[in-house]
């Protein structure tokens, strides 16, 4: 290392507070003997001090509302060991077999398991051959121009709730466990213009306009029973109990 290179390194390290005592002393000696080096050091020091005085710039608006709209909940629960096509093929075969059995004994499985409205659940990481339909058919309600459709499936202890609503008024949907029992492990996704929060193990969704929201959760006893209440500002609404018998 040349003398100039060493001097440069000592200056930079001094600015970083990284010099040992003897290195600081050496730098002071060399600067005292060399006015040009002292001027260069002062110039460097002034630039760095000016940099350190600059405040971080605030974003012009909070990022979260925009980020949250782009997020999807993390994939949960079921991790297929087979390739998806094989799994779906297996599920289709299983379903066909069950349909044959249904012709013999209608009590074996609920026929709505194969209805088209369930298909979106297939893309949510659920095992199509194992998911259990919790609402016999999607719950549907209408009040004036407000329409609410709620469907739910269960895979093991995980419940996936799908809420579709159109409402010109502020619609509030609240999901709670039965008998005041908590639901847990919430993961939710919702579209604009909805607001959603999980407090005290209760999911509350507020929306105006059209919205589709989904929630993943478990009931505290694992029994998969819960309440969904929807309500409009005037008091109109309904409470639905959903869950396994």
């Amino acid at each position: 290392m040349s003398a100039d290179e060493r001097l440069e390194r000592l200056m930079q390290q001094e600015i970083d507070g990284a010099n040992q005592a003897e290195e600081s002393a050496e730098l002071a000696r060399r600067l005292a003997d060399d006015p040009a080096a002292q001027a260069a050091y002062d110039e460097l020091r002034a630039a760095v001090d000016a940099l350190d005085d600059v405040d971080q710039t605030e974003p012009p608006r909070p990022l979260w509302p925009s980020v949250s709209r782009s997020l999807q909940p993390p994939r949960r629960v079921w991790r297929p060991r087979w390739r998806p096509a094989v799994a779906w093929g297996f599920a289709a075969g299983l379903a066909a077999g069950l349909l044959v059995l249904l012709a013999v004994d209608d009590g074996l499985v609920h026929p709505t398991a194969l209805e088209p409205w369930m298909q979106p659940f297939g893309a949510m990481g659920l095992d199509p051959g194992r998911a259990e339909v919790l609402a016999a058919t999607p719950y549907q309600a209408q009040h004036g121009q407000t329409e609410v459709t709620i469907s739910a499936v269960r895979d093991g202890e995980t419940i996936v709730l799908d809420v579709m609503a159109t409402s010109p008024e502020l619609l509030r949907v609240v999901v709670t466990g039965l008998d005041g029992q908590a639901c847990r492990g919430w993961s939710v996704s919702h579209g604009n213009p909805a607001a959603s929060s999980v407090r005290d193990e209760t999911w509350a969704l507020s929306c105006e306009g059209s919205v589709r929201a989904r929630a993943w959760f478990t009931t505290v006893d694992g029994a998969g029973r819960f309440h969904v209440r929807w309500q409009l500002p005037g008091g109109a609404g309904d409470t639905v109990e959903i869950g396994s018998e």
Partner: protein
């Protein structure tokens, strides 16, 4: 990684996705600051910040909790800025709103002018030199953290930073002499 970050990340990974709002709130300022200095304009910085947070969320499963979360996040933001700049294939221009803040009483105006000159000098640096200045002086990162984010050796970080400071000081001097 701080214990606060660690606990938050664990809960988000377990499904409490709404807690990611806390991560965004905690890091939006430094991420935006980094993005603004690298891209040179507020709209691009906004886009880079958003892409960085969304991308980090989607990769949370790949995050090693033994690493520092902010280094990992800054690296994602740095790459997002690089992608945006490469995608637009244009020179980063000096952001007008960062250099036109000379106003007010004399002392304030002088400080403001100096700040504007500094911002201008910074914007004229090469991308590699600008990024080390931003990481070191605006985000207060160590050489080791900078090396991790930039995926280069620590000695390279040091040498780039020394050159960048020297160039910036020279530009400031020239501007003040004018």
């Amino acid at each position: 990684m701080s214990d606060g970050d660690r606990r938050l990340i664990e809960r988000i990974r377990r499904g409490e996705s709404e807690l990611y709002a806390e991560i965004v709130s905690r890091y939006e300022r430094p991420i935006y600051c980094l993005a603004l200095r690298l891209t040179g304009n507020p709209e691009d910085a906004w886009e880079v910040s958003q892409v960085a947070f969304v991308s980090a969320y989607r990769k949370l499963d790949q995050f090693d909790p033994d690493r520092r979360f902010f280094s990992w996040l800054y690296r994602i933001a740095y790459n997002a800025a690089l992608d945006l700049i490469a995608g637009r294939r244009r020179q980063v221009e000096l952001p007008v709103d960062l250099v036109s803040r000379v106003a007010g009483p004399d002392a304030e105006a002088a400080a403001s002018e100096r700040r504007a000159l500094l911002e201008a000098g910074l914007a004229e640096l090469s991308f590699d030199h600008r990024v080390v200045i931003v990481l070191r002086h605006f985000l207060d990162l160590s050489y080791r953290e900078m090396a991790e984010i930039l995926a280069i050796e620590e000695k390279t970080v040091k040498s780039r930073l020394f050159t960048a400071r020297r160039e910036l000081a020279a530009r400031l001097r020239k501007a003040l002499d004018r």
